[in-house]
Structures are given as structure tokens and as C-alpha cells.
Amino acid sequence: MTALTIAAAGRALRDGTLTATALLGQVTDRADKLDPELGVYLTRLSEQAAAAAEQADRELAAGIDRGPLHGIPLGIKDILATKGWVTTAQSLVHEDTWWANQDAPVVARLKSAGAVITGKTTTMEYAIGLPDPDKPFPLPRNPWNPATWTGGSSSGTGAGVAAGLFLGGLGTDTGGSIRIPAAYCGITGLKPTYGLVPRAGCLPLGFSLDHIGPMAHSALDCALMLSVMAGHHPQDPAAQRGPAGVPGTRADYAGALTGDLSGLKIGVERTIPTTTETDPAVLPSLDAVAGHLAAAGADVSDVVIPSYRALADADLVIMVSEAFSFHHAAMSSRWGDYGRYTRTFIAQGALVSGGDYVTAQRARRVACKQLDEVLSGYDAIITPTTATGAPSYDDIYHMPIMKSIFTPAFNSTGLPVLALPGGFTAAGMPLSVQVIGHPLAEATLLAIGDAVQRKTTHHLAEPEIVTNA
């Protein structure tokens, strides 16, 4: 069996072989069977979703077509505000009044496009830390092997797409939180250019590092979602005023996906995975993706990013500082209400001085310029997303996770990065490759991902738990 994509569902909705109500019924049945084990949802918005699906069916039947997301079930990470339901941040600390009864602009855009929001998905508390068995929230489990972790912090969105509980969803990424669950769950995830998707109505983790992006099975599906999500919004002071920012227009990211990469220069960075814990299948999967890119017409060559370490260091120091700034007051009075792994991570911000923070931002700028000099010779650079497949729940509380992920450095840059399935480990767990591009070059990244996915089927593979459901 292969996964149902947004694009395929859209065709079925328009050729009469599927209704939005029937599609919602299918994903709801699957959620009923699998969610108790997988821990995808914090809240299922069943009534709202049914109403949205019925409206989609009426509109499509009447010739009112809102576009590729019309009638499509999507999940929303529960740090993004959704009207009609409290956003919990998966925390006992969070106030019910925050953005009460409002949609975050990105959620409003999805609803205006006719999407069917099925629920709020699990995360780490305030998008940082680790799954906490001592708190009254579901533990997100990887559909490929429920004894393993989904990755985070967009955990429920990643698992939900992989298991078919919805066809796409929203994640956020401050150090890898879209790309890591995309990698571990075998799906595609995009961290867009900083500011391309407005962050209003999204709880902050690192103000200068946060990105909102789409997660779905394919690069094409991510393109369809991004076309709706992207664009300037006055409530986000860092919002881009780039190509997608012209009021009343939408960038057509899917239109760039032709499968032909002729004329593109792509660098392959093999030196980043230096830990001895790197799975032996990681570099071969990177090479396999490079081979597909060359076959699609790209000029592929090796490259090294000398400022990688500095960019990763900057992300750490800046993230803990900015997160601590947001949580300091609440942590001073409600330490025990925060989860253990979330509070001990954020508290590192107390160990960083104001001078350290300013130095980190200055070093970030220097390291970004160094990367720009390397990237100037390429249209994109590819590198592994993680060192291994998804770790087991027995391991995640004891392993040096920061040494097994290759994502945080690229949050420091604000550059767009696409994570796409790159194969599997010997144990059958997904592996991933990330594609780093120039500012506002999402169309190029999505075209690269799409070209790979025209030659592979990793992104359409379904876990056994789904086929046996």
C-alpha cells in the first residue's frame, strides 16, 4: 500500500471518486484505531472537522474551488492558535487566555483555503525538551516502530502524516523540530526562509530562530501547502516582504516542480556526520540522493561547510537565551509545573550572560557570511538530516541527542531547508537528507525534492502498523 498524498486526494475530490466527508471518515477511522498507541493528538476537533468537510463537499459540488487544500484533512501542532479551542502548548503552565478564540494567521489561511483541520497535535512542552512520562499528555510514538520516538518537537504532526491520520500538517522549527520528526517518521518537511510564514499566533521558543512550515508525504504536497501559508502579515514584525509578500497574490510553488534539474549546481556535504554513532546507511543514502539529482540533470559535486560548527553553537546559545527570556517569570514561580526535560533545558539560559548572547548573534552573522561564500557557488547543498534512524524510548533519555542531529546550524542561517526521505536503515527505519538553499528559494528546494521523489518511493511507503490497521 502507498500513502495518500494531498495531490492525489485533490484529484479524487475533483473527479468524483472521493468526497471530503468520506476522506475525513477514512482518516478518522485510522485515528480511532492507531492514535491510542501513537499519541498523535492532544485534541481531536471532530465536530469542527465534520462541518468543514461537509462545507467543502457543498462548495466543490457547486463549482466553488478554493484550491488544492480544499477538503484536505490537516493537523496543527499545539503551539499554534486555533479558533474555538484552547492551545495547550502541551503544558500545565500555559494560560487559556493566550490568543483565545483566534486563529494564528497561518491557520486562518489554511481554513480559508478550505482545509479540514482535524485536531491539535502533540509536541514537546513549549516545543522543547523530551517526551515526559510524568506529565498527563500522550507520548508520541513512531509509526515505523512504536518502541521508538517520533523525534520532535513537531512529533504528532510527523507521526500523524506518516500513519495517515491526516494528509499534511503544520510544524515549527527552531533547531530542527520540523526536519527531525520528518526524518524519523519518513516524510517530507520544509523549514522555509525565516519570516516567509508569519509567526503571529505561534508560541515562541527562539524569537530569531523560529520558523513555521509544512509537513506532508511529498515535496509537491509541501509546495501546495506553502503556497497557501506563505506571505507577509502585519502582526509578525520579522515577516518577509519578498516574492510571496504582494498582497492579494500567492506564490505558485508547485508550478516549479518539473522533474528537470538541468542547470542547477548542487553541493554534497559528507563531512558533517563525524560521530562514530552514525548509522552505516546514512552516507550511502546521501549518495543515492545525489545520484538521483545527477540523473535529473543537476551538476553535483562535493562541498564542505566550514562554519557548520559555529552555526550550531550559535543556535544553542541563542535558543536557550531567547527561550529563557520568554519563560523566566513563569519558571521562577512554577518550576515544578513545567516538565523536567523542558525546564532543565530552558534553564540553561540562566547560564548565559547578555554578553554571551550578543557575541553569539555577532558570530552568527560572521558564520552566515562564511556559509554564503560557499553557497554562492551552488543552488543548494545536501547533507544528512540525522545520524541514525529514530532512537528507541529506552535510549532518548540517556543519549547525547544534540550530537545525533544535523539540523540546528541551519536555523542560525534562516535559510530554507527541505528534509526528504532518503532511504532506510538495515532495521527498516527511515533516513533523511536535508537540502539547504538560498533565501526565498523554496521553489528550487521543492523542485529538487520533487525530482528525487519522481525516482524513488520512500516518501510513499506506509509503516506496517498502518497496513495492518
Binding site: A347, A363, Q370
Partner: protein, 72 residues
């Protein structure tokens, strides 16, 4: 989680910093946070060395410099 055990001196230093920041942290969690302290300080030191060596015209730009339309 970090893979090194912090020294008693590091644990004491971290405990003092957390207290000065107004946080009331139990001893076992001070030790958890202290286990990350060395990596954090090492990262900060590397960044300090980078700007000392490579930032001859010091600039402080707290928001990625391509945001706010600078790449239109």
C-alpha cells in the same frame, strides 16, 4: 542528554547561577543542568574566538539580516 558527569565545582557554580536568576531548582536537576554547562560554555567560547578573529568591523544584528524584506 550530555554524556559527561559534571564536577562538584561545576554543579556549585551552576546552582549559584540558577539561584541568582531566581530559580528554585532541586539538587538532582541542578546536576542535570550542570551536565550541559560545559558544552554550553565551550560553544560560547568558540563563538567568542570567532568574533575576535573574524569580525573586524563589529556589527550586532539580532535578527537574520535577510529578513524584513532585505532580500526582495
Amino acid at each position: 542528554m550530555p554524556d559527561t558527569q559534571p564536577s562538584p565545582e561545576t554543579v556549585a557554580e551552576v546552582g549559584a547561577l540558577l539561584t541568582a536568576a531566581g530559580l528554585t531548582v532541586p539538587p538532582d536537576e541542578i546536576a542535570m543542568i550542570a551536565a550541559s554547562f560545559t558544552d554550553l560554555r565551550t560553544a560560547a567560547s568558540r563563538l567568542d574566538a570567532l568574533v575576535y578573529d573574524d569580525d573586524p568591523m563589529p556589527v550586532f544584528d539580532p535578527v537574520p539580516f535577510f529578513s524584513a524584506g532585505r532580500h526582495d
